[in-house]
């Protein structure tokens, strides 16, 4: 393994572009997971299954000969409905439980949705059809870069910018940040709990749908385990970055996506199967050195007794 690391492949521009795109998509997922965690203290393991549902929506859209925008609309619709259902049926009854119980519950929901998909859509993977044309390379200053990579980076930046405006410039954003800091005090000061939680859930659903579009195009093969591994990696990234604040969480998601992309490109061909090990080993090391998060300042939240 050590010798394998020494004989790395050279870093190329397409690799950097792919890594940036993956980082961008993972950053969006990280925001979606981080927002819900902020207001609900809930780590949503089932986030990947929202993305899977979106992927299937796109695949069926192309199967039914929908236009691209119709497929994407269908994807957003399906993901949003599923997000709201998940919140109403599972997360709301569990709102007062301990974080561990909620985490295990989302684990159960993830497993449930995955198996429903397996039962409903079968074990064979589906592809997203016409959308896959976005994988065609663009010629930018003599470098071949996939169209989707550019789109992903631009969209991610756009979404994050809008979200930042929403969080810092609107009353709703203020309420959400207040709720993320201290839910009980925020409620005492007149923040309406259901509105804030509803907003966080819907925004996280929108981000899941956006991520679903990009991930589906990049991988172009939707199966019941689609999005599962990505979610696990993003969750690790979010915790590594710092779960309590949106910006560290986003940076964490981006870094882990970027690192995965770069490592995937530079590892020698016979070592790429150990990519997961390298990434998670790095996660463990960072957690041990900075348990409160890589991008948080100070000692982080003090544990209350």
């Amino acid at each position: 393994m050590i010798l394998g690391i020494l004989s790395l492949q050279p870093l190329t521009w397409p690799t950097v572009a792919t890594a940036l795109a993956l980082g961008g998509v993972y950053a969006l997922m990280a925001v979606g997971i981080g927002l819900v965690f902020g207001v609900l203290r809930l780590v949503n393991f089932a986030y990947g299954q929202l993305i899977m549902a979106g992927g299937y929506a796109l695949a069926y859209g192309s199967l039914w000969n929908f236009a691209t925008w119709q497929s994407i609309l269908l994807c957003f619709g399906v993901v949003l409905v599923l997000t709201v259902l998940m919140d109403r049926l599972v997360f709301r009854p569990l709102r007062t439980s301990s974080p561990t119980v909620m985490l295990v519950a989302t684990f159960a929901v993830a497993f449930l949705l995955q198996n429903i998909a397996l039962l409903k859509f079968g074990p064979l993977s589906k592809n997203v059809g016409s959308l896959a044309q976005l994988n065609a390379p663009w010629d930018i200053f003599g470098v071949q870069i996939k169209e989707i990579a550019v789109l992903a980076v631009v969209t991610a930046l756009g979404c994050l910018f809008i979200l930042q405006l929403l969080l810092t410039r609107t009353p709703l954003g203020l309420h959400m940040r207040a709720a993320a800091m201290d839910f009980r005090t925020a409620r005492l000061l007149g923040v309406r709990a259901n509105r804030v939680i509803g907003a966080a859930v819907i925004i996280s659903g929108l981000l899941a749908a956006t991520s679903a579009v990009f991930l589906s195009v990049q991988e172009n093969s939707i199966s019941s385990t689609f999005g599962l591994q990505d979610t696990i990696i993003v969750l690790a990234g979010v915790v590594v970055g710092g779960m309590n604040r949106p910006i560290p969480a986003t940076l964490g998601g981006f870094s882990i996506g970027f690192a995965t992309g770069i490592l995937g490109g530079v590892l020698p061909a016979d070592k790429t199967q150990y990519l997961t090990s390298f990434i998670f080993a790095a996660v463990i090391v960072v957690l041990l050195v900075r348990p409160n998060g890589l991008f948080t300042r100070g000692g982080g939240a003090v544990e209350r007794v």
Binding site: P99, L118, I232, V305
Partner: protein, 346 residues
């Protein structure tokens, strides 16, 4: 508390296991495999309980110790003649070493324990989400390495020609050993200290308990039990790395949570109940007769039923079926009467 009154705490789980085994013996040979499988799952869940139940810290890494144990026991017991075919790229030392059935189980426990200790030494400093994600990372790395590394095992192919020594007897005895070890541990001062840190970390630390050390003890012991259970498992059926990954992690966690993660009884009851339901629906894919009613379901129904059940239990009864309590006989009246009398005479 008298010993006699505490006896049911360990006897009831043990009797449940024995009853399952007897039921397994009574049914047809065809169905016996399901019972053996259930008993192995009970052993895995008891190992899971030793750490999660006593410490209250969620660990997703337990199945990696099961996997390591399975690899140890499997690689060491495949007949030497079959090894070049079963493990094409294996290290010379492993290709030439063979041990018997019991020794392979013991070694699986040792390797599982050592691995858990090595992993736990740094990781047990973490708590909360960081601990959860870190143990998840361990699971991912273990699955990745075992799944691809030909030097230490069958890599992508999975196991073949491991002697199938785990029958109903071996499974029962193995399961009883796990229960006995888990119970003995939770009665020692180590177990009690860890439970104190679960109830109130700050107070426990103030009373001089090292949270890190106590968690590490339980993590190592749980790893050893997991390795042992993994050994039992690989002697039951041919396993591949992905059989010991997310799905098994979920199912065993579901068993623990459904039963009630706070007690040994909960772990055993949960494992038996969930496995019963799961096995029933798995078997129903090939049509089962329920009192003359032919039930036939599609493959995958078992997982869906399990998922729904788990969500329902979490919402309606978050501390599990047993409520996280052990079963012990009620306090006798006489003791109280004696006390009153003693108080009256002084």
């Amino acid at each position: 508390m008298s010993v006699a009154r505490r006896l049911p705490e360990v006897l009831v789980p043990a009797l449940l296991v024995v009853a399952t085994a007897l039921l397994g013996l009574a049914v047809s040979n065809y169905l016996e495999g399901y019972f053996v499988n259930t008993l192995v799952k009970v052993a895995i869940v008891v190992g899971l309980y030793v750490f999660i139940g006593n410490s209250g810290v969620l660990s997703f890494g337990q199945i990696s110790f099961v996997a390591v144990g399975a690899w140890t026991a499997g690689v060491l017991t495949v007949p030497r003649a079959d090894k070049p075919i079963a493990f094409p790229g294996i290290a010379h030392f492993l290709a030439t070493t063979n041990v018997g059935n019991s020794a392979s189980l013991a070694l699986a426990a040792v390797v599982g324990g050592v691995f858990a200790f090595a992993v736990g030494l740094p990781l047990m400093r973490l708590s909360g989400l960081a601990a959860g994600i870190a143990t998840f990372a361990v699971l991912e790395i273990t699955n990745n390495v075992l799944g691809y590394e030909g030097l230490i095992g069958p890599a992508l192919n999975g196991f073949s020609s491991v002697p199938p020594t785990t029958g109903i007897w071996q499974a029962t005895i193995g399961c009883l050993i796990c229960i006995a070890v888990a119970y003995a541990y939770q009665r020692t001062r180590f177990g009690r200290m860890l439970r104190a840190t679960r109830e109130d970390p700050a107070a426990a630390a103030a009373a001089g308990i090292s949270i890190h050390r106590q968690r590490l003890v339980a993590f190592t012991l749980a790893g050893a039990l997991a390795g042992f259970a993994g050994g039992l498992y690989v002697h039951l059926q041919p396993l591949a790395a992905n059989d010991l990954f997310l799905d098994l992690t979920f199912i065993t966690l579901a068993m623990l949570v459904v039963g009630g993660s706070g007690s040994l009884l909960g772990a055993v009851v949960g494992a038996l109940a969930v496995n019963g339901i799961y096995t029933f629906f798995t078997a129903a894919v090939n049509t089962v007769d329920v009192f003359g009613w032919h039930l036939h379901v599609r493959a995958g129904t078992a997982e869906i039923v399990l998922g729904v059940l788990m969500v329902l239990v979490l919402i309606l009864r978050p501390s599990g079926l047993t409520g996280g309590r052990e079963l012990s006989l009620p306090r006798r009246r006489r003791a109280l009467a004696d006390l009153e009398k003693a108080r009256a005479t002084t």
